[in-house]
């Protein structure tokens, strides 16, 4: 076994060539995931609200969007943006930006479903009571429904964040310098320790994801106490 290969490249796995060169490695992956989840939250909220609307011209486009994105592998979405951007914009996007947009688009469809489920899980009386006190539909959504629904959705968001963190490894394919790419670079350079290298980065991803998953489980238990229930 050649664990020294892993040990000598540990800083490259964690932050890339950062102080001297561009950020990379695990830090880049996490950064992409954070950017992705924030972007996807807003886009997903938008599509989720469209999806539960009773107006067909809002509902069906959202449904088509969600079904198409959820039926497509993430890899396909990444390729799409990578090859579509030059056609639409006339110039190439940086790989990281292109990957980030793909992550946002892909995750937003899943977030839209979470939002929809979260809102539908609230008892109907909440909306009726809010409308009854004189709020209009938008106000009732904004001040009564969403604050409760979003709080209940936090664990699902964390889970989505975990799977996005795992999915950032796919950015490797279009050449974003994150952990998986760092690992293949080191592997191609050294050639003697593939098992050690890939085991190490699997463990690195595992640590990040496992901490988040356990956090989300605890959160779920904690938040379950505050949920409004129907009778």
């Amino acid at each position: 076994m050649h664990w020294e290969v892993v040990w000598n490249n540990m800083d490259y796995f964690l932050i890339g060539a950062y102080p001297e060169g561009p950020l990379g490695g695990l830090a880049m992956g996490i950064l992409l995931a954070i950017g992705g989840i924030f972007g996807a939250f807003w886009l997903g909220l938008f599509f989720g609200l469209m999806r539960i609307s009773s107006k067909p011209w809002l509902k069906y486009p959202a449904m088509v969007y969600i079904e198409i994105v959820r039926g497509t592998p993430l890899l396909m979405v990444i390729f799409w943006f990578y090859f579509l951007a030059p056609i639409l914009l006339g110039h190439t996007l940086p790989e990281a930006t292109s990957a980030l947009i793909s992550f946002i688009v892909f995750t937003s469809a899943y977030i839209a479903e979470i939002v929809r489920a979260g809102i539908l899980a609230l008892p109907k009386g909440q909306m009726e009571a809010a409308r009854g006190t004189g709020l209009n539909h938008f106000q009732a959504m904004r001040y009564i429904i969403l604050p409760q629904a979003l709080r209940n959705m936090i664990p699902s968001f964390v889970n989505q964040f975990v799977s996005l963190t795992k999915d950032t490894s796919l950015a490797y394919i279009i050449g974003v310098n994150e952990l998986t790419r760092a690992a293949t670079q080191v592997n191609n350079r050294t050639l003697i320790a593939p098992t050690e290298i890939f085991l190490t980065i699997a463990v690195l991803y595992f640590i990040v994801c496992y901490v988040l998953t356990s956090f989300s489980r605890r959160l779920e238990k904690h938040l379950a106490r505050y949920q409004a229930r129907g009778r």
Binding site: P73, L75, V162, S169, Y172, I197, F198, Y205, F206
Partner: protein, 233 residues
Amino acid sequence: MNYQFDWKLVLTGEYGQWLIDGLIVTLKISAVSIFFSLIVGTIIAVFRLSKVKPLEWFSLAYTEFFRNTPLLVQIFFWYFGSDAVLPKAVNEWLYQQDFEFAAGVIALTVYTSAFIAEEIRSGINSIPKNQLEASRACGLSFIQAMSYVILPQAFRIIIPPLISQFLNLTKNSSLVMTIGVMELTYMARQIESYTFHGFEAFTAATVIYIAISLTISLLVNLYNKYFLRNLKY
């Protein structure tokens, strides 16, 4: 936007054939991986409920570890680093076969079986405990009680989530292009590099993927509607 769309080039002739070949490999690798992941997933789930501590811990570690690491890394691990983990004879044998395909199947199986194990476990847990107690009292062993009484009932409940795992597996199988398995995404990529008509090639591949997943979700919905409706315990 001065891009000339040329659907005919991509969808017919040699390149169209490539897409079909790719689709066949995608279906093949998915089917093989589904088969194995179902078996492995069931075993892992039964381990978890077996009340034998080492088996329980193994199952817990297995599900937690493989669910929390990216599939791509697992694919690379089995492709580049399987020497150190698999027995030498197995590796020799795999090298003689289609090794890319085998590594892809192993990675997809291991990854998906961890998810499937959790589904099956929750399915088994949803069967009332006295079913197991009653069958043990009838004189069945743990394995017999599981395979004749509990699992047949559990599987019926978890068919919808199980199928959505299979669907995920089919989508995830696009990742094995990175180690050179010539499946649908690989072929789309290939057409892109031969013709520079990436847009059409990826659209065609995407449509195929969506068609697969929509067909299967439709079947699941029908199943939910007609078979699961009357299920009560």
